[in-house]
């Protein structure tokens, strides 16, 4: 395998409605946080990777020009990675490969989004081409509601049961978010609150859906030499995977979802994981919708096909359960899209290095971070561990 690579520090902004600062200033907040955390400064950095959602979302095209100063990128090599919702994970992959290839020793990776500056639903409809799909697919909830229905139909999951499990996920995550100082939405909900909330796209209701957030996340990737030189707790990259489906939403099976399964297998193979449910201690699943989180439990081998609801209801994935998922509150509580999957990576790094604070999963040594994107089309993963 390639050179060993570690994450040696992460920085996040406070996520939420951030109309009080300009976009570059918000990006800089995350950059300053990771420099404060690691004791490094811009002159130590060999390269910078940044990314967001499409320019249509930002209202500024090719934002790396605009953010150059805020990133401390002046005079530095840069890359800009964007793959839709998976952007944050693809950013982490770029940072990883830059270091693993030997072309850089310290790479700063930054993902960001200011969703209150644009119109996320209107932007999402521009992801659909105008010949065929654009008039029918209404942003992410429409896409995912259809996927959720297919999943329930395939495995004959009673609607009531999946509703109950989805509601439990929502209640748990929103409670967990209280322990995450950076989370956006922190509320105390009951199962009834979720089940009686407004329908967005059936069966998905208001509390099954992630919010719009402003926020940024910064992560520093380091070579083995650099990581060992610094007195920081490194989270080692043990494996990574990425896989993409056809663009045409009707072409592939979104239930026994090959692109999710293949991406996971790539990561597990590199990390030497054969039984993810037993070997992983924590996972940060990209869960913009409660049902989609359950679908991923199955595709990633945490649950048998069609059995994720049962496992959720048994508490397998709750804090204190067998494999806690999204102890940070996940995407369901915080969603600055271009940063979202990178936050999954950052949170996993905090967990496996024992630095997650109030939402720490005790003894976590091996964790999985996930990103989802495209027209429910891309899955990307990164496995992080406390040991080289």
């Amino acid at each position: 395998m390639a050179r060993a690579v570690a994450i040696i520090g992460v920085g996040q902004t406070k996520h939420g409605r951030r109309n009080e600062v300009t976009y570059p200033d918000m990006v800089r907040e995350a950059v300053q946080a990771v420099f404060a955390e690691t004791g490094l400064d811009p002159k130590d950095i060999d390269g910078i990777v940044c990314g967001t959602m499409p320019s249509m979302m930002e209202g500024v095209a090719l934002t790396h020009f605009y953010f150059a100063d805020a990133l401390g990128a002046v005079g530095k090599p840069m890359m800009k990675t964007e793959t839709c919702g998976t952007t944050g994970m693809s950013l982490a992959h770029t940072g990883y490969y830059w270091v693993a290839s030997g072309m850089a020793d310290l790479v700063l990776v930054v993902g960001s989004e200011k969703m209150y500056e644009g119109d996320s639903q209107a932007t999402m409809s521009t992801v659909m081409e105008p010949f065929y799909l654009r008039p029918f697919l209404t942003g992410a909830p429409g896409v995912f509601s259809i996927q959720a229905q297919q999943w329930m139909a395939r495995y004959k999951i009673p609607e009531e049961k999946s509703r109950e499990a989805a509601a439990k996920i929502s209640v748990d995550h929103h409670r967990d978010a209280h322990d995450n100082p950076y989370a956006h939405i922190k509320v105390d909900l009951t199962l009834e609150d979720v089940k009686n909330s407004r329908v967005i796209n059936y069966p998905i209701r208001f509390w099954d859906v992630c919010p719009n957030s402003d926020g940024a996340c910064a992560v520093i990737f380091a070579s083995e030499d650099q990581a060992k030189k610094m007195s920081l707790k490194p989270a080692w990259v043990k494996g990574l995977g990425f896989c993409g489906d056809e663009y045409w939403y009707g072409d592939s099976d979104k239930v026994a979802w090959q692109c999710a399964m293949i991406a996971a297998k790539q990561a597990y193979d590199l990390a030497g994981i054969s039984n993810p449910r037993r070997e992983l201690n924590v996972a940060e699943i990209y869960n913009p919708f409660t049902w989609i989180e359950m679908l991923h439990y199955e595709c990633f081998g945490f649950s048998e096909p069609g059995r994720a609801c049962d496992d959720v209801l048994k508490g397998v994935f709750a804090r204190g359960g067998e494999l806690p998922c999204d102890p940070s509150g996940g995407v369901l509580c915080t969603n600055p899209i271009g940063a979202t999957a990178l936050i999954r990576v950052a949170e996993t790094a905090l967990q496996v290095t024992g630095q997650a604070g109030a939402h720490q999963i005790e003894g976590a040594k091996l964790g999985l971070a996930h990103g989802l994107g495209g027209v429910s089309q891309f899955n990307g993963l990164m496995i992080l561990g406390s040991e080289l």
Partner: protein, 158 residues
């Protein structure tokens, strides 16, 4: 000019409008010509034998040119649907509407359009009228422009 956002912070409001012009190419062209004649055209991959609709130039999996063109059925099975009631900026289809995800008889992929001919006044009303697994058929608009909206919608059969 600076105005205040809903939470009282200074913001600059703006709208961006840019126009793009996309080449249809022969495959979309033939598919849309078919719609004008009330035909749904698909084509078959010579390697994996799947029938894809709308018709394609190449098979995404086998990465070879598609083969024989054929007309697929105008009836099929509803496999997913979604009711949209909330309007957002610049939405191409005014709500409420139901998006239908349908396997047309004889096709090896799913096709997407609207579902109509039903009462759309709220999710509870809609749920009583449609369900996954039900049969639906294509209803055509009288006036054809060679676009995807030449199809009016899918309607329940019977």
């Amino acid at each position: 000019m600076v105005t205040l956002s809903r939470d009282g912070k200074p913001v600059i409001k703006a709208e961006a409008l840019v126009t793009y012009e996309l080449a249809l190419g022969p495959t979309w062209n033939r598919f849309f010509e078919g719609l004008k004649e009330e035909k749904i055209l698909g084509n078959r991959c010579p390697r994996c034998r799947r029938v894809l609709v709308p018709a394609r130039t190449f098979c995404p999996r086998c990465f070879v040119d598609m083969g024989e063109w054929l007309e697929v059925a105008q009836e099929g099975e509803l496999v997913g649907w979604s009711l949209t009631e909330i309007e957002y900026f610049g939405m191409p289809t005014p709500p409420p509407f139901v998006t239908a995800f349908v396997t047309l008889d004889g096709a090896d992929c799913k096709f997407m359009h609207l579902l109509g001919g039903i009462d759309l006044s709220g999710i509870d009303v809609v749920r009583k009228q449609i369900w996954n697994g039900m049969r639906v058929k294509i209803v055509w608009n009288e006036e054809k422009n060679g676009t995807i909206m030449d199809i009016k919608y899918f309607a329940p059969v019977g």
